[in-house]
Symmetry: C2
Subunit: 275 residues, 2 copies
C-alpha cells in the first residue's frame, strides 16, 4: 500500500528532528562547558533555517560545533545546480577548511534551526602544541569527512538512483545512532526530496519516483518526513552499504544535552590516539 497518503499521526517540526530540544541560548550545555574549558572566546550562536553559516570563497577565523541542528555542505555551479557534499549532524564539527584555505571550498547552510558554538581558530598559533586534544578531534573529524566524501563519490559515480537513495538512508540511519533502539528502524529526517536529490546528484522528481519504487518493493515506509527501514539487509546488499567507513561513532557527540554521553563519545572519538 502506498504509505505516502497516510496521514501523519504527529506533525513533525524541524527542531524535533534534531535530536535535542532547543536549549535556551544562555543555558550552557555540557558541550559548551567542555569546549569553553579548552578554548576561551567560544560564542554560542543560533541560526534560523536556510541560513548560510559559511560562504564558499570566503575566509573564516572560527570553526563550528553543531549542537542540535542539521546543516549541509554544498557547492553551486555556474549553471545554478547545487551539489550537497554531506550533511552535518548534531555533534559534528564543521567549517575547518574555511579556516585553513584562503577561500572556503564550499558553503555550509542550515537545513533546520541550529545552535552552534563558534570556536576561534588560528592555525598559526600552533594549536597542535597548545591544544592537542582539539587538534586530534579536528584531525579525526577530517578523516571521517574524507571517508564519507569518498563513499558519496562512489555513489554518484557508480551507483544507480535506486542504490544511491538506499545507501543514503542507511548512512543516515547509522550516523543517527538509531541502531541502539534495537527494533526501532524509523528515522526522522528534516530533508526534502530536493535536498536528497542535491546530495545524490539526482533531480527531485527522480528521487520521488525512486522513493516510490523502494516503497513498492517493501524496502522502506515513508510517513511524512519520517522513514522506516523495512529491510535493512536487502537495502545493504543492493547498495553495497558497509558501515565501517563511518567509523565508530560517525560523530563527535550523540546528544548535546546528555553530558555522560558526551564524555563517553568524546572519549571514543579520541580513542584512535590512545587518549
Amino acid at each position: 500500500m502506498d504509505q505516502s497518503i497516510r496521514r501523519r499521526a504527529h506533525p513533525v517540526r524541524p527542531m524535533e528532528h534534531a535530536c535535542a530540544p532547543a536549549a535556551a541560548a544562555h543555558e550552557g550545555t555540557f558541550a559548551d562547558e567542555w569546549i569553553n574549558s579548552r578554548r576561551p572566546g567560544v560564542r554560542r550562536l543560533s541560526f534560523a533555517k536556510a541560513r548560510d553559516v559559511v560562504i564558499s570563497g570566503s575566509h573564516n577565523r572560527c570553526i563550528y560545533f553543531n549542537h542540535d541542528g542539521w546543516l549541509a555542505r554544498y557547492k553551486i555551479l555556474h549553471k545554478g545546480s547545487r551539489q550537497i557534499l554531506d550533511f552535518v549532524l548534531p555533534g559534528q564539527v564543521f567549517g575547518l577548511p574555511a579556516c585553513l584555505f584562503p577561500r572556503a571550498p564550499y558553503s555550509i547552510i542550515t537545513i533546520t534551526e541550529a545552535s552552534v558554538s563558534a570556536i576561534p581558530f588560528d592555525m598559526t598559533d600552533n594549536v597542535f602544541d597548545r591544544d592537542p586534544a582539539l587538534a586530534k578531534t579536528l584531525f579525526w573529524s577530517t578523516v571521517q569527512e574524507a571517508a564519507i566524501l569518498g563513499e558519496h563519490l562512489t555513489g554518484t559515480g557508480r551507483r544507480s538512483a535506486y542504490e544511491r537513495v538506499s545507501h543514503l538512508l542507511l548512512e543516515l540511519f547509522v550516523r543517527l545512532n538509531t541502531s541502539h533502539r534495537s527494533g526501532e528502524m524509523t528515522l526522522s529526517i528534516p530533508l526534502t526530496q530536493e535536498l536528497i536529490a542535491d546530495a545524490l546528484g539526482l533531480t527531485a522528481v527522480h528521487v520521488n519516483r525512486t522513493l516510490r519504487a523502494l516503497r513498492q518493493d517493501k524496502l522502506i515506509k515513508v510517513d511524512g518526513r519520517s522513514i522506516t527501514i523495512v529491510d535493512f539487509e536487502a537495502l545493504s546488499r543492493l547498495s553495497d552499504f558497509e558501515k565501517s567507513y563511518l567509523g565508530q561513532a560517525g560523530r563527535f557527540q550523540p546528544r548535546a544535552t546528555e553530558p555522560a554521553a558526551l564524555g563517553e563519545s568524546a572519549a571514543r572519538a579520541m580513542e584512535p590516539w590512545g587518549a
Copy 2:
C-alpha cells in the same frame, strides 16, 4: 567483452611487504633521509605497475610516501564497477585511513611503477606529541584530500561528461605544477581512457568521444599519452574550475630527487601551521 569479467582482471597481489623487510634500493634520496631522521624504521619499497598497495577492508600499520609513481585510490562495487576516488601523484602521502580505520575504506593501486616509503605508523603511541611535524603533515594532507574529494563529488554529481573531463585535465595540470614552465601547457599523464572514465564516473567509450569533442572544439590536443591544454581559460570557465581547492602546492613534495625542492615544498606544506 563482459565488463564484470574485465573488471575482475585487476591484478590483486596481496603484498608480503606490509612493513616487512626492505625490498630494494638502498640509495636513499633526500626524502628518505628526511623521513628517516624523524621516523626510524622507514622502508623503501618498489612496486610494479598495477599492484595493490593497500587493499580495501584490510588494516595497515604503515602509511606511505609516494616518491615517483602514480597511484589511484579506488573502490569496487558488487556489480564489478570501479570508482577511482583520486590519483596519488609523486610527493603525496597515502594509506592513512587504512591505519586509522579497522578496515580500509578503499584500495590503492599503482598505475605506473612506483617507489614508496613505508612509514610505520601507530596512532596509539601518540604521534601528536612525539612527532608533531608528521602529525601536521598528515593533517594537512587529509584536509587536501577531503577538498579534492569534494570537488570530484561535485563533478560526478553535477557536471556533464564534457565538463568533467575538462575539469580533471585542469586539476592534473595544476597539481603537476607544470604551470611554472610558463607557456608550456602540455602534460604527460600515464592514464588510460579507462582510468579517466573510472575516476569520472563515466565509461571509457564515452570518455573517448568526449576527448574527441574537446579536440574538435580546439580546447585540447592529444598526442598519445600527452595532452596539451590549448585554451585554459575556456576550459576553466566551462567546467567551473577554481584551483584554490588544491591548496598552495597540491602536494607535499615536487620531486623525490630534488632535495632543494623538497625542503622548499615541505616548508610550504607546513606553512599553515606557521612551521
